[in-house]
Subunit: 443 residues, 2 copies
C-alpha cells in the first residue's frame, strides 16, 4: 500500500519514494535515513524512516518537511528481477525468501503480525546488505509461516538453493520464520550434498520494531554466505544485544527460547563461528567443514510416513500401534535420559516394548533420541535399554530428536531396506553426530 494524504503529497513534491534517502524535519527534530514502506499506522500519513543507527522512526506527515537526499540504492532495483547483475567486486550470493517474521509486519486490523513483505520491501529495510554481498538472484518459491512448513517445502528450498549454487552463486541465504527454522536447516544440511555455505536466517522481532534483529542476522548471514565455510548454518544473534551473530551447524541447533533474539543455541556441539556485522569472522569449532569447489547435488527426497513421538509418564503404547497401522515407515521416539522407553503403561499387555517390536516387524525403523536434548543415548547401561535394543531399536547418540526425525525421513526416501537405513542413521552425514562431547557443549 502506498503512502496517503499529506504524506503522499509531500513525498510527491520532494520526488521521494520508498528506498530513497530522505530528510524529514518536524519542529526542532530532523530525521535522516531510508524511507520505508508505510506501516498502516496513522492511515498512511505517517512517514517511516530507517535511521542510520538501525532504528525505524514514524513521523506524522502533518507539519513535516520532506527532502530527498539520494535516490534509492541500485541494489533495490535489481531486487525485482530474478537474475540480477552482481555488483562489481562483491561475491555473488543467492537469496531464497520463504516468509516468517523476517518478512512480516503488524496487521493493524487484527493487532497481530502478518506476513506481507516482498523481497523488495525486505531489502529496503536492510540497506546495509548492499556493501556486503552482491545479491545475484532472489527467489521466493513460496511465502509461508514457518509453523506451516512441511518436508515438501524443505525440498523446494533445497532445490532452489542448489540451483543457484550451481549457477555460480558463492553461497546462499535463506530467510525463514524462526519457529521451524532449525528443522529446515537440518533438512538442508542433508538434502544439499556438497560443501558451500548456506546461511539460514530469521528474525525474532518484526521489522516495525526498534529491536528488529533480522537486519543484523541478514548482514551476518551474507558474510557467512561468502565465507569459506562449507556447511548449512543458522545465523542468528549470539547475545541479546546487536554485537555479533553465531553461525550454528544446521544439524546441531535448536530454538531454545520463544522470544529472545539469541534464542538459537548449538546443542551437543560448539557453534561454527562468531560473525560480526562488520565482516569479522572468528572460528569457534575446529571441526567446521570448509568450502569445496564443485557442484552441489540436491537429494531432496523425504518419506512422509515418518513420525516423532515424545514420551511422557503414562503415554499409551497404542500411539505407536496407530502409526504402525497407518503404514509409517519410520518413528523417532523422544525417550527419556539415555534412551529409556517405558516397558509398562496403564494397560497391562500394552507395553511400548511390544509396540516397538511390532512396528519393527512391520518393516519400520524405530529410532530413539533423548528428550534431555543435551548428552547422548547409551544403550549399554541399563537392562531395559538392552531389551529395547533387542527389538531392533536404533539409538541416535547425541543427535537432537528433531535432527533424528529429519535424517530418518531423508534416509527412508534414499534406501528401501530398513536394515540399511538403521546402519546409515549412525553414519555422520552433516556433523549431526559428535563423537566427543565436551564440557562446553552443555549449557
Amino acid at each position: 500500500m502506498a503512502y496517503e494524504g499529506e504524506a503522499a503529497v509531500k513525498l510527491n513534491k520532494a520526488c521521494a519514494g520508498e528506498g530513497d534517502r530522505v530528510r524529514v524535519a518536524k519542529g526542532s527534530a530532523v530525521f535522516e535515513g531510508i524511507l520505508l514502506p508505510r506501516t498502516d499506522a496513522g492511515g498512511g500519513e505517517c512517514l517511516v524512516v530507517k535511521l542510520d543507527n538501525g532504528y525505524n522512526v514514524g513521523i506524522g506527515a502533518k507539519g513535516a518537511g520532506v527532502e530527498k537526499l539520494a535516490a534509492k540504492k541500485t541494489v533495490l532495483e535489481k531486487f525485482a528481477s530474478k537474475r540480477m547483475t552482481p555488483m562489481k567486486g562483491l561475491p555473488e550470493v543467492a537469496l531464497v525468501a520463504t516468509g516468517g517474521t523476517i518478512a512480516s509486519r503488524v496487521d493493524y486490523a487484527t493487532g497481530g503480525v502478518k506476513m506481507v513483505l516482498t523481497p523488495e520491501e525486505l531489502f529496503a529495510a536492510v540497506p546495509e546488505l548492499e556493501g556486503v554481498a552482491a545479491i545475484s538472484s532472489v527467489s521466493t518459491p513460496f511465502t509461508i509461516a514457518s509453523e506451516d512448513m512441511t518436508p515438501r517445502e524443505w525440498a523446494k528450498i533445497a532445490t532452489e538453493v542448489g540451483k543457484q549454487l550451481n549457477a555460480g552463486a558463492t553461497g546462499a541465504i535463506v530467510t525463514h520464520g524462526t519457529d521451524t527454522l532449525a528443522y529446515t536447516a537440518a533438512a538442508l544440511s542433508f538434502m544439499l550434498r556438497g560443501s558451500k555455505p548456506v546461511a539460514v536466517v530469521g528474525a525474532q522481532r518484526s521489522p516495525d520494531r526498534a529491536s528488529f534483529d533480522g537486519a543484523m542476522n541478514l548482514v551476518c548471514g551474507a558474510h557467512y554466505a561468502k565465507s569459506n565455510y562449507g556447511e548449512v548454518a543458522v545465523v542468528m544473534h549470539g547475545t541479546p544485544s546487536d554485537d555479533y551473530c553465531y553461525a550454528h551447524r544446521g544439524t546441531k541447533v535448536r530454538k531454545m527460547h520463544s522470544s529472545r533474539r539469541d534464542a538459537f543455541r548449538s546443542v551437543n556441539d560448539k557453534p561454527l563461528a562468531k560473525i560480526w556485522p562488520d565482516g569479522k569472522i572468528e572460528g569457534t569449532n575446529a571441526k567446521a567443514r570448509k568450502r569445496v569447489d564443485g557442484s552441489v547435488m540436491v537429494d531432496a527426497g523425504f518419506e512422509e510416513k515418518t513420525a516423532l513421538v515424545k514420551l511422557y509418564p503414562g503415554a499409551p503404547a497404542e500411539q505407536l500401534d496407530w502409526l504402525t497401522d497407518k503404514g509409517y515407515k519410520g518413528v523417532v521416539i523422544e525417550a527419556y535420559g539415555l534412551g529409556h522407553t517405558p516397558t509398562q503403561t496403564f494397560e497391562k499387555n500394552k507395553s511400548w516394548l511390544k509396540a516397538v517390536g511390532r512396528c519393527a516387524e512391520e518393516g519400520a525403523v524405530v529410532a530413539v533420541a533423548t528428550q534431555c536434548l543435551y548428552g547422548r543415548t547409551n544403550p549399554f547401561v541399563y537392562v531395559n535399554l538392552r531389551l529395547m535394543g533387542a527389538q531392533g531399536v536404533t539409538y541416535c547418540g547425541d543427535m537432537l530428536p528433531e535432527t533424528a526425525f529429519v535424517k530418518l525421513g531423508w534416509l527412508l526416501a534414499k534406501f528401501k531396506d530398513p536394515a540399511k537405513v538403521r546402519e546409515e542413521l549412525l553414519k555422520d552425514y552433516a556433523g549431526e553426530l559428535n563423537p566427543r562431547l565436551t564440557e562446553e557443549d552443555f549449557v
Copy 2:
C-alpha cells in the same frame, strides 16, 4: 547376596559384616571405611569398602587382612522398621524410596545396571546421612525404574509422603530414578497441598562408581527436608563436581542432559536454593515458598486420558483426531515458538486447526506449551495464534510442556467442567507460572 569364599571367611573371623567400619590391609595399602554389600564382581570375593572420602574401593580378599573397627551405625538397624525412633536432637525426616539409579547396581550377568538395592543397602552406602537428619520412617511403596513410572505411582508417592508429613515428619525425601524425576516432582508439587519441604533426589551415576552422586544428593536433600522451605524441590548436583546441590522448584525443573551429574536445570525460574553438604543453604529465589505449619492435604487424582503431543513439520493432525476418538479429556500440544501450531499439513482439509476445534467441541481441554522450553507462549502476536485461540485453546505461558501435562491431568480429575479447567490452568498453584521472566532465567 552375601560375600563368599575367602572374603566370607575373613569377615567371619573378624566378626565384621555389611555396614560395619572395617580396616582392610593388603600389601602396603590400608583401607578404612564402611563395608558395603558385595557387588558381584570377583565372585563375591572382593571386599567393597566405602572410604571416608566417599569413594568405593574393591579389594580382593586373597592376601588381605580384615579388622573390624566399629559396629554398623545404629541408624542402619533402625532402617529395617517402618517407623523408627528418631535420633535425639535431629529433625525427623521421612524417606520414601522408589527405585532408580540411586537404588541400582551393576548386574554382571548382562553388564547393565539393575535395580536391586534395598533401603538398608542404600543407607549403608550413605552413612553420612546419619548426622544430618533422623530418618523417622522409610517406605518403599514400590520399586520401579523411573521410565516405568505412571501417574498412578505419583499418587502412591504423594499419599505416602502426605501420610508421613501428617504423622509428624519435618520434611520428606523421595528417592527416584532421574529419567522422569522432574515429572514426579511436578506431580507432587500439585498433589501435596500444603507447605512442607519435600526433596526429590536421584543419582546420575550408580553407587558402584567413584563418581556416585546419590550420596551428596541425599545429604543435601536431607538438609532441604529439614529446612524452612515449603515446596517440593528437586535436589541434585549444581555442578559436575561435588561442591553443592541446587534445590530446583518442582514445577520449573527439567532433566537437560542424559548423563551429567548436574543434568537438572531450572527453566524459566531461578533455583530455590544452593545447598552444601555441610548444611549451608543459600536462598537463590526471592519468591520461594516458606514452610507453613499444619497438615498437608493430599489431592492425588489424575485423569489418565491426558496426553502430550509434540509437533514437528508434517505432523499429522489425525494424531489429535485419534486422541479425540479415544475419549481423551485433555491434550497438551508442545507447539512451536510463541505457541504456533500448523494450520496446514500434507493432507488438505486435515489441519491442526480443525482437529483442535473438534477436540475442544468434544469437551476436551486443549492446551499449548512451547517446545522451545524457555520463554513463554504469547497468543497475542500472530494471526495464526489468534485463530487457534478462537478454537478454545489455552496457552500455558511459561509452563514447561511436561508441567503443563501434569497440571492438566491433575486439574481434569478435580474439575469436571472444561471451562473451569481452562481457567484453573492459568492460575498459579505451585510456582509453575512465573509472571516475570528475567535475563537469568535463560541458559
